[in-house]
């Protein structure tokens, strides 16, 4: 055992761990932070790796580290009945592949998050009593509200309160004098075209008609600061990245760190009270049989990702926080038989399954410029339809068909190889075709389903002998019904805007051939399940302290995550 006895030992230097480390060290608590991956003092080398990656998927810039592996969407594949897909780090039993990933380096998954920073709506907390589905939360929106405010100021969210009008938000959604730390980022040119075309348009879902609105998206990237806020630039030079420069690359890596990542918070921690051990993979929690509380963490420390050589250590502390990401946290608890009298650890795994629709606008809309999305349609986040199917949010994509078709790489390849174009005609064709590309993302709520879960199995271990996550995952009828409804919404929007629909809703192939990887010169993920492409949000709200109380392993966004963590802090006072 290490002699040090820390006030708090945190496992994981992602946004959850970093915020805690910052808040606790500010209160002069001695904190040890164990991080499985490398320290991110070499951010620019990630960027170089990104440039030369053939398929520019979310994890492409980050080290492939067999000692602290993470899922890569390139390993997704169909799952044969009865046998798991073993291609990637996750052991996937499906029946639907869990299509998301996370990043195991210092800074965690915020390294490649998009930065959208939404709050949940009051009715999200009362889904069962209001709409007869899912469960009610033991807390309400109002309980969480002050922590949303705090985390928005920590992340540095850009938005104007007066633009943020959502269904069912009630009349005190934002505090009376609340403002975001930075002003809204400008809506993209194409957002303006879409808003001009569909604002106020009524769309019928079930018995009711819903008026569409297009509003700017709150996002964790730097714009013009409001009073009392100083934008935080790149971790290696604060003068860089003071404002979003329109690199259009928020996923997988912002070259200037204008987009928030957890390194910014970590840097703010009072280093006098903080000890960080990188390349230290927590593998077991030691439980005191008398008190039934955690008294130590065993971790495996390695020197190089290339070798499995490592040494094992144990540290002690008063309080332990497992902030290793929803999937890894569940794994660690299960591996240690900790906090699982309810048999709920790892259950109710969620994502936000995504459906893409795409087509050609009648004119050049200047696609492929700016942050991933600057506006969204909030109309279907709440309403009576939630009795029939789940809610969804609709970001208006600034990146054309990148995700649906690997455009424009695939357009180039097709124009050259199939259309036999070259020279000026090739240029003309691409110019006319690509700059009109338009896409909507429909991101769906999932309900807590016990069968959707992370488990462990001694047959599936990684190079250090730690468990690999074994995942069972499906999409319920409640969510699928929303997808149907959403396709109808998309059809109406496309009709109103005069968009030529190119959406391909057949199941898509999973694996990319080398040629296709060449086309995917910049793809966030690859086509998966009937254009349902699921990218992450796997967060458990539940923490060690709450495990026994209730059964929700709710996924939440980073800002939810931050708020949830902050909510738990008072117990430390």
């Amino acid at each position: 055992m290490k002699e040090d006895n820390y006030d708090v030992v945190i496992v994981g230097a992602g946004i959850a761990g970093a915020i805690l480390a910052k808040e606790l060290t500010e209160k002069k608590k001695r904190v040890l932070l164990l991080e499985a991956g490398k320290a991110s003092d070499d951010y620019l080398s990630y960027l170089e790796v990104f440039y030369t990656a053939l398929a520019k998927v979310p994890n492409s810039p980050y080290p492939n580290n067999p000692n602290a592996p993470s899922q890569n969407v390139l390993n997704l594949g169909p799952i044969p009945a009865g046998a798991p897909n073993l291609n990637g780090y996750m052991v996937q039993y499906g029946p639907v592949p869990f299509g998301s990933d996370y990043t195991r380096v210092s800074g965690g998954t915020t390294m490649h998050w998009l930065g959208h920073s939404f709050r949940m709506l009051p009715n999200d907390f009362k889904l069962h009593s209001k709409y007869g589905h899912g469960v009610d939360w033991p807390i309400s929106y109002d309980d969480l509200k002050p922590f949303y405010e705090k985390s928005e100021w920590e992340i540095g969210v850009s938005a104007d309160v007066e633009d943020q009008i959502y269904p069912g938000m009630g009349n005190n959604f934002f505090g009376k004098n609340y403002y975001y730390p930075m002003k809204s980022l400008p809506a993209s040119y194409l957002d303006q075209k879409v808003a001009g075309g569909i604002n106020g348009m009524k769309v019928k879902l079930g018995k009711n008609a819903y008026p569409l609105s297009v509003i700017t998206t709150p996002q964790g990237r730097n714009s013009t600061p409001n009073k009392g806020y100083k934008p935080i630039g790149a971790s290696w030079d604060n003068n860089i990245g003071q404002r979003c420069e329109g690199n259009s690359n928020c996923v997988p890596i912002c070259p200037v760190q204008a987009k928030y990542n957890a390194l910014k918070t970590l840097n703010k921690a009072d280093q006098k009270y903080l000890t960080v051990i990188n390349q230290a993979v927590a593998s077991n929690l030691i439980i005191d049989p008398e008190t039934n509380r955690i008294k130590g963490v065993t971790y495996k420390q390695y020197q190089s990702a290339q070798s499995s050589d490592h040494t094992s250590h144990t540290v002690q502390g008063k309080i332990f926080v497992i902030a290793a990401h929803a999937v890894e946290t569940a794994k660690l608890l299960l591996a240690s038989s900790a906090a699982n009298s309810s048999d709920l650890v790892g259950r109710c795994l969620m994502d936000h399954p995504t459906m893409l629709t795409w087509g050609l606008m009648p004119e050049d809309i200047g696609s492929y410029r700016g942050p991933g999305a600057t506006s969204h349609i909030p109309t279907f986040r709440d309403g009576a339809f939630r009795k029939e199917h789940s809610a969804f949010i609709v970001p208006v994509d600034n990146w054309g068909w990148l995700w649906g078709e690997f455009s424009p790489g695939s357009d180039v390849t097709r124009a050259i190889n199939q259309l036999n174009l070259f020279g000026k005609k090739l240029r003309g064709y691409l110019d006319g075709f690509v700059s009109r590309q338009f896409g909507l993302q429909f991101e769906f709520e999932q309900l807590p389903q016990h069968a959707n879960r992370v488990t462990i199995d001694p047959n599936y271990l990684d190079q250090l002998g730690n468990y690999r996550p074994v995942v069972h995952y499906d999409i319920s009828d409640y969510t699928r019904a929303a997808m149907e409804a959403a396709k109808g919404v998309s059809d109406m929007i496309f009709a109103k805007l005069g968009v030529e629909d190119y959406t391909e809703l057949q199941p898509r192939r999973y694996r990319l051939s080398p040629m296709e990887r060449g086309q995917a010169i910049h793809s966030r993920a690859q086509g998966i399940w009937s254009a349902l492409i699921a990218w992450e949000r796997t967060n458990q709200i539940r923490s060690l302290t709450k495990t026994r109380n209730h059964g929700i392993t709710k996924t939440c966004t980073s800002s939810d995550r931050a708020a949830c963590r902050l909510l738990e802090l008072p117990i430390l006072r």
Partner: protein
């Protein structure tokens, strides 16, 4: 007269025909020599010289006469069993910064046993990939156009 022109210049003539970009633009990417080396390394001198010669001849003869030029490129290069697939690959290399592995049938045909797999040629190749210029944007993660530019109408090109 014949030997006066350097081979990189031949490669640029060919590339200009295939990409529809002026030689000066291609030269400006700083990648012409690197790309030529890439082709030479993967395909060998014989076929590379053959395609460069075909390209430079058409370029000199029909420059600025679009229709005749297109005709000649289609006849002499694109529909040629050996040169056609290679020409397509060189075009996509300029547009995407990626070398795509040559199709197996082609490799068998010309008798190449082992060949380079698909790869991004270099970080610069990615940054200079022509497709982004054509569509009035920039390679994601590089050549950032600046705050708020995305809210302005697209450039007329």
């Amino acid at each position: 007269m014949k030997n006066k022109q350097s081979s990189v210049d031949d490669f640029l003539d060919l590339s200009s025909l295939l990409t529809g970009f002026d030689k000066v633009d291609l030269q400006g990417t700083g990648l012409a020599e690197i790309y030529r080396k890439e082709v030479l390394g993967i395909i060998g001198a014989q076929i590379t010289t053959e395609i460069e010669k075909a390209g430079t001849a058409i370029y000199r003869k029909y420059r600025n006469r679009e229709k005749l030029m297109e005709e000649a490129v289609r006849t002499e290069i694109l529909s040629h069993a050996v040169l056609g697939p290679l020409a397509k690959n060189i075009t996509s290399m300029w547009y995407l910064g990626v070398w795509n592995q040559m199709p197996q049938a082609w490799l068998d045909h010309v008798g190449i046993k082992q060949t380079a797999p698909s790869h991004v040629i270099s970080a610069d190749a990615y940054k200079e990939s022509l497709v982004w210029r054509v569509v009035g944007s920039h390679p994601p993660g590089a050549k950032q156009p600046g705050y708020g530019t995305w809210s302005l109408p697209p450039k007329t090109r």
